[in-house]
Amino acid sequence: MSGPMSRRISRVLIVEPYADLRAEIAATLRREHYTCDAVASADHATIQLSRNAYAYVVVDLEVIGGDLVSALDPSSRVILLTDNDSEPIEGADSTLQKPFSREELIARFTS
C-alpha cells in the first residue's frame, strides 16, 4: 500500500507533560486515523520506544533529553513542540510552536 492510506496506519508517540494538551493532540491525530500512544515524561517515552516502532514522535522541547534522544529510532520523524520561534533544532524534522491549530499539526504529518 502506498500514498495516504499507508500514512494513515502510522503509529505516533506523543510526549507532552500538559495533560489536556496531550489528550487533544492524540484526539486530533486519532481522528486522522493515526494510532497514538500518549505519555507525559521522557521515562515513559523511552519505555514506549523500546516496545513499538513509531513513524512519528511528537515531543515537547522541555521533555527531550539524552536518554530519549538515544532511544529514538533514526527513521522516526521527530516533531518538536516549542514555546517560541526558535531556530531550527538539530535532530528535529520539524518544529511546531504552541499554541497550534489542527491544520498546523496535520501539516507536519503530510509534509
Binding site: P17, Y18, D20, I25, R31, D83, N84, P99, F100, L105
Partner: protein, 516 residues
C-alpha cells in the same frame, strides 16, 4: 574592608612619607577615612577594588605613573569615575593639565595649588568623596532597575509559557467539531476547564499586583477560623472529587476567633488545600486540621502526595516557583498561588510554612493567624447561587461590542428560552433598552460611542428604575464595582461572565405578569 567602606576612603599617594602622614592626620581629624601608599601597583589594585578617591602630590606622578594610572582608570566600568585630587607646585592650570598628559585630560581631576590650607584640602577631599558616594548610589539604582527589567522579562517568558499550553489545548479541542459543527462533551468540558484555569490565572495575577501595590483593603471582622474553612471547603470539594482524593477535616475543640477579612482568609485556605489536591495523585488523602497553639490559630494541611524535594522547600513561596518545576508545570501551576497566600497572610500578621520528608513522601503546610482578643461574630451564610432560573422567559438586551462575546451571550440566553436583542454600541444600547423595556440589560463597560456608565445614566434618566441593569466588565476591582453602581447599575459582574452568574441574576428578577 567592605566595598562600602572602601568607597568612603581616600588614598594618599606621595613619595615623601612625612607629607602623606601629615595629610592623613589632618583628614582623619576632619572625620575622613584615609590610607597612604607610594607604590603604583597597589594604587591600581585599590582602584580596581573601588577606592573612594585618590590624592596625589605632583612629585608622585612620575612620567611612567600617569599613563599607567590612566589605563587602569579607563578599564573602570562606565558608572565609575574615581575623583582624583592632585596637589601641584606649578603656577598655571594650563601648564598643569599638559604636564600630566592623559591623566590631566580626565574630567574628574581637581588641581589644588600648594601651599594648601588645611581647610581647602579637607573640603576638596570631602567633595571628592561625596561625588564618589553619588556614583555608588546611582550604580545601586541602576542594578535595581536592571534586576527589575530581568524580573519583568522572566515574568513575561513564564507567562507566555504558561498561556501556551492551555491555549493549545483549547484551540485543538475547539476544532474537534463533528460534521454538524457540534463539539462532544469531552472536548467542551476541556475547553471550559482550561478557560476557567486561564481566568483563575488572570485573577491571581491581578490580586497579587493589587497586594504588592498596597491596593487591597482588608475588611476585617472577628470570625471563627472554622467559618473560613467551611467557605473554602465548599469551593474545593468538587476539585477533590474530580481528582479522586479524599479530604478529612478535623475541627478544633476550642473556638478559634481570628480578626481577618473572611473572604481573604477563605482564599488563603482554598489555595493551600487546592495546592494539596493538585499534588496528590488519584486515591490520595488530605487531612485538614484546625487547632490552637498558644496565641495562634492553625490550619494544618497534610497530604500523602508527591512531596517536596529538600532543595526546593525554601523557595516554594516565591513567585513562579512552581513554573520552574516540571511537576508544577504539568499541572498548570505558574507558582502564583502560594506567593499570593504568603503575601495575604503577611497582611493578616499570619504565616505559612511547609515541610516534607522528600519527593514521594507527602507534605504538610501550616497556616497561622493570630488569635483575636474578642469572640467571633456569627457570619451570615452567603446566599447560595440559584441552581437555575425559574424557567420564566425574559426579555433581555445585550450591549456588547465584541462580536463573539455578543453572539455567545445571545445564543446561551436564547437556549434558556429568553427573548434577546443584542446591539454593539452605547447609543444603540440606550435606544434598545428604552424602546424594548427589557427585564434585564447586560451592558459592557468599554463600548464605542457611549461607554457603559453613560448608557446606564441615560437609561435611568429616561425610564428610571424600570429595568435591571447589569454591568459586564473586564475590570473587577471593588472601585470598578462601586463606579458601576454609582452610574446607575444594579449589579456588576466580571468577565468572563459565567452562565451560572446570569442564571443567578435571572432567578432574582421579579416575576413578569405580561409575558414575553
Amino acid at each position: 574592608m567592605s566595598a562600602e567602606d572602601l568607597s568612603r576612603r581616600v588614598l594618599i599617594v606621595a613619595p615623601i612619607g612625612r607629607d602623606a602622614e601629615l595629610m592623613c592626620t589632618h583628614l582623619e581629624a576632619a572625620g575622613l577615612q584615609c590610607g597612604v601608599c607610594a607604590d603604583i601597583d597597589e594604587v591600581c589594585r585599590e582602584i580596581d577594588r573601588g577606592i573612594g578617591a585618590l590624592l596625589f602630590t605632583q612629585e608622585a606622578l612620575l612620567p611612567n605613573v600617569a599613563p599607567r594610572l590612566a589605563r587602569t582608570l579607563d578599564k573602570q566600568p562606565a558608572w565609575s569615575d574615581i575623583p582624583i585630587i592632585i596637589l601641584t607646585g606649578l603656577p598655571s592650570l594650563e601648564t598643569k593639565s599638559e604636564s600630566f598628559g592623559p591623566l590631566g585630560r580626565r574630567t574628574n581631576v581637581t588641581f589644588v595649588d600648594r601651599p594648601v590650607r588645611i581647610q581647602s584640602l579637607v573640603s576638596a577631599t570631602q567633595s571628592a568623596l561625596r561625588a564618589r558616594e553619588r556614583q555608588y548610589q546611582i550604580h545601586e539604582l541602576m542594578v535595581k532597575l536592571e534586576d527589575r527589567v530581568h524580573e519583568r522579562d522572566r515574568f513575561l517568558a513564564i507567562l507566555g509559557h504558561e498561556l501556551r499550553n492551555p491555549l493549545g489545548a483549547i484551540l485543538l479541542a475547539s476544532q474537534m467539531r463533528d460534521d454538524d459543527g457540534r463539539l462532544d462533551g469531552e472536548h467542551a468540558q476541556l475547553i471550559e476547564r482550561q478557560s476557567k484555569h486561564l481566568s483563575r490565572l488572570v485573577n491571581d495575577l491581578l490580586d497579587l499586583s493589587r497586594v504588592v501595590s498596597g491596593k487591597i483593603v482588608l475588611k476585617r471582622q472577628v470570625i471563627d477560623l472554622a467559618e473560613a474553612l467551611r467557605q473554602s471547603f465548599e469551593t474545593m470539594s468538587d476539585a477533590a472529587a474530580r481528582q479522586k482524593v479524599t479530604i478529612e477535616v478535623k475541627h478544633s475543640e476550642v473556638p478559634l476567633p481570628v480578626n481577618v477579612d473572611p473572604m481573604r482568609a477563605a482564599q488563603v485556605i482554598t489555595n493551600v488545600i487546592g495546592n494539596a489536591i493538585k499534588y496528590t495523585p488519584e486515591g490520595g488523602h488530605i487531612v485538614v486540621c484546625l487547632e490552637r497553639e498558644g496565641d495562634q490559630a492553625l490550619v494544618r494541611v497534610t497530604d500523602d502526595g508527591v512531596g517536596i524535594a529538600e532543595n526546593r522547600i525554601g523557595t516554594i513561596f516565591e513567585l513562579f516557583a512552581q513554573a520552574e518545576n516540571a511537576i508544577g508545570r504539568a499541572q498548570g501551576g505558574m507558582g502564583i498561588g502560594l506567593a499570593l497566600v504568603r503575601t495575604l497572610l503577611e497582611l493578616h500578621e499570619g504565616t505559612i510554612s511547609a515541610k516534607s520528608d522528600g519527593v514521594g513522601k507527602g507534605s504538610e503546610f501550616v497556616v497561622t493567624f493570630p488569635i483575636a482578643s474578642e469572640p467571633a461574630v456569627t457570619v451570615a451564610e452567603s446566599p447560595r447561587p440559584a441552581a437555575a432560573h425559574d424557567g420564566q422567559p425574559r426579555r433581555i438586551v445585550v450591549v456588547e461590542d465584541n462580536h463573539d462575546v455578543r453572539d455567545l451571550l445571545r445564543l446561551k440566553l436564547r437556549r434558556l428560552g429568553h427573548e434577546v436583542d443584542a446591539v454593539s454600541d452605547g447609543h444603540a444600547g440606550v435606544k434598545a433598552i428604552v424602546e424594548r423595556r427589557p427585564d434585564l440589560a447586560l451592558v459592557d463597560i468599554g463600548l464605542p460611542g457611549l461607554d457603559g456608565y453613560e448608557v446606564a445614566a441615560q437609561v435611568r434618566r429616561t425610564i428610571g428604575q424600570d429595568v435591571v441593569l447589569v454591568a459586564v466588565s473586564g475590570f473587577g476591582q471593588p472601585e470598578d464595582k462601586r463606579r458601576a453602581i454609582d452610574a446607575g447599575f444594579d449589579e456588576h459582574i466580571t468577565k468572563p461572565a459565567d452562565v451560572s452568574d446570569i442564571e443567578n441574576l435571572l432567578s432574582r428578577l421579579p416575576p413578569r405578569h405580561d409575558g414575553v
